[in-house]
Assembly symmetry: C2
């Protein structure tokens, strides 16, 4: 599958280099688990098939660890100084995917079965708990209390973001009970952006950086995360199925109140709420809904937000400065512009 | 319901006093959750009915917080100095119950619906995650890195203990693949005892105690936890249904490889393995299995272990000494001798 990785100079090298120090650190942490949850973790990371057969995969691009490593370098350390934080953030990300797939009943992720589908709900709940426990213990053992407190605070945000997203499902499509753009953004900051902020700020701290810089890195990562979510929401409606691996107009068919939808509805588009409330399963109605959202400016609003947030992230990267700037800029662009 | 609480001088007062500083600290932490998981937490703690109606309950006796408070006092602090650790341990305990009930498919706990039964699996998974996130963040915010690292290490033990317990279900009832007594004890240390050790050692640290004393407190709590588990296993077979709220011979009917069973099987009792493998659902066969286990010495072995572990815990309490000794002794005896 073609990605824009090749279009952004240096990103492939950064991601490869990050994997070099990440993989052993992740393996060391995962090896502390009982064989049951350990096998599910290996499956989740793409290291193994569901039956335990070794597999040559890496389960995702590893942008969070790359951000952490670059932030450590920006603070004057080596990228691998960020390893305990990078492992922690990557394990928290994996934990959240495993549990979210249970909550959402999703059976596929990255063209493979989800953990609960392959191993059962109970085993997947426990494997997620194990990933979270290892995340926290790996970072706590590094002895950096400030980094730990950043991660635990973000954990609370993650749970509340997921809870808010879940509660959106029961909200009205129009009227005073409808989801607002501000509510959507607050949800996305908790559910998605906070962990990218954590990756960058914890990496900075582990690289020897100060508290003020950690605050900047956190803001940078959050801008980036929000930009990523906005792009993801555009792709969820208008993305090419051959690239996204999902159906055309997937988010509309699933009745998701994503940002283009919320933005279009808040503009008061006639007929859109009724159309969406009926879950437009057939292609023609889904296409009509997508067109209404686009005409109402929902797509443009979301794409503009992504650009603004990326620009804000890049401005902070430039403000921090130093030798890691080109790498951070490249990964930031990659996170937002990646196609899959 | 009659409990032995009244028979151990001072315990009722200690538990009441602990609730005085625990309840507001728990409420403050729980209030940080999104309304969805917050409501489930309130239900789990016995503060609310499933529909959100306030309820005058306290969801358990609070022996872990009491241990933490007494350990803080033993270290020279005030009991309430242990509050962040006590909240953390109590929330971790609640998290493990909510997730374990999903894994085990249990529909009732303490004569009430379990969280997943009342709210659905997805919401219960998230509420458990929220309790765990708050546990960690509450302790991390207290600024004591040593206490945090103790808790995160115990989290890994908890997950591995639960995984081991779950894996026991698929093991043979006899032969070289049968669960050994040592394996059972290692499982129980992780799943049950480690968190009591954490309550005591973290309380000690938050009360201003040193590392050597924290190690002693951890060992004390683990002995206590193992004694508790042994007593629980005896009650799981021979407990009075009117007191335990479970069926006669409950653990045998459910095919649980509890300690009396494992000990009896390792003694090579003729016919017992076959009887248990068939899940003795009818009262007569369950009674026969219980009698075989008792004749093979499984009950005696387990009861003796409980007494030895309690004695070991009390010896450490006496070794530590100081004004908190009577309170710690009383709670230790209460944990092990309590009927429900």
């Amino acid at each position: 599958m073609m990605t824009q990785q090749t279009l952004i100079p240096g990103v492939a090298g950064i991601l490869d280099e990050t994997r070099r120090w990440m993989r052993p650190a992740m393996q060391d942490a995962a090896d502390r688990l009982h064989p049951g949850p350990r096998q599910i973790s290996g499956f989740t990371f793409g290291w193994r098939e569901a039956d335990g057969t070794p597999r040559d995969g890496d389960g995702g691009k590893g942008v969070r660890p790359a951000l952490a490593g670059l932030a450590a370098a920006a603070a004057g350390g080596r990228p691998e100084d960020a390893a305990p934080g990078a492992v922690a953030v990557e394990f928290v990300h994996a934990f959240s995917l495993v549990h979210d797939d249970i909550m959402d009943g999703d059976e596929l992720r990255r063209h493979r079965q989800t953990a609960w589908k392959a191993y059962g709900i109970g085993a997947a709940v426990l494997a997620g708990d194990g990933l979270l426990a290892l995340a926290l213990d790996t970072l706590a053992r590094s002895g950096n209390a400030e980094a730990v407190t950043r991660l635990t605070g973000v954990l609370v945000e993650l749970v509340n973001g997921q809870a808010a997203d879940s509660a959106f499902e029961d909200r009205a499509w129009s009227g005073p009970q409808a989801v607002t753009v501000d509510e959507y953004i607050a949800m996305a900051v908790g559910k998605t952006a906070s962990l990218l902020g954590c990756a960058a700020s914890v990496g900075w701290i582990l690289g020897g950086g100060d508290a003020a810089g950690a605050g900047l890195m956190d803001r940078m990562g959050r801008h980036l995360g929000l930009a990523f979510q906005a792009v993801d929401d555009v792709l969820g409606i208008w993305g090419d199925p051959a690239v996204t691996g999902k159906a055309v107009h997937n988010d509309l068919r699933q009745g998701k109140k994503s940002l283009p939808v919320v933005a279009a509805l808040s503009a008061g588009t006639a007929g859109l709420a009724d159309l969406l409330a009926g879950r437009p399963d057939d292609p023609a109605r889904a296409l009509r809904a997508a067109d209404l959202i686009e005409k109402a400016g929902g797509r443009r609003f979301t794409a503009d937000l992504a650009e603004q947030e990326l620009a804000a992230a890049l401005a902070i990267i430039d403000e921090i400065g130093g030798g890691a700037t080109p790498g951070l800029r490249a990964v930031a662009e990659y996170v937002v512009r990646r196609l899959a």
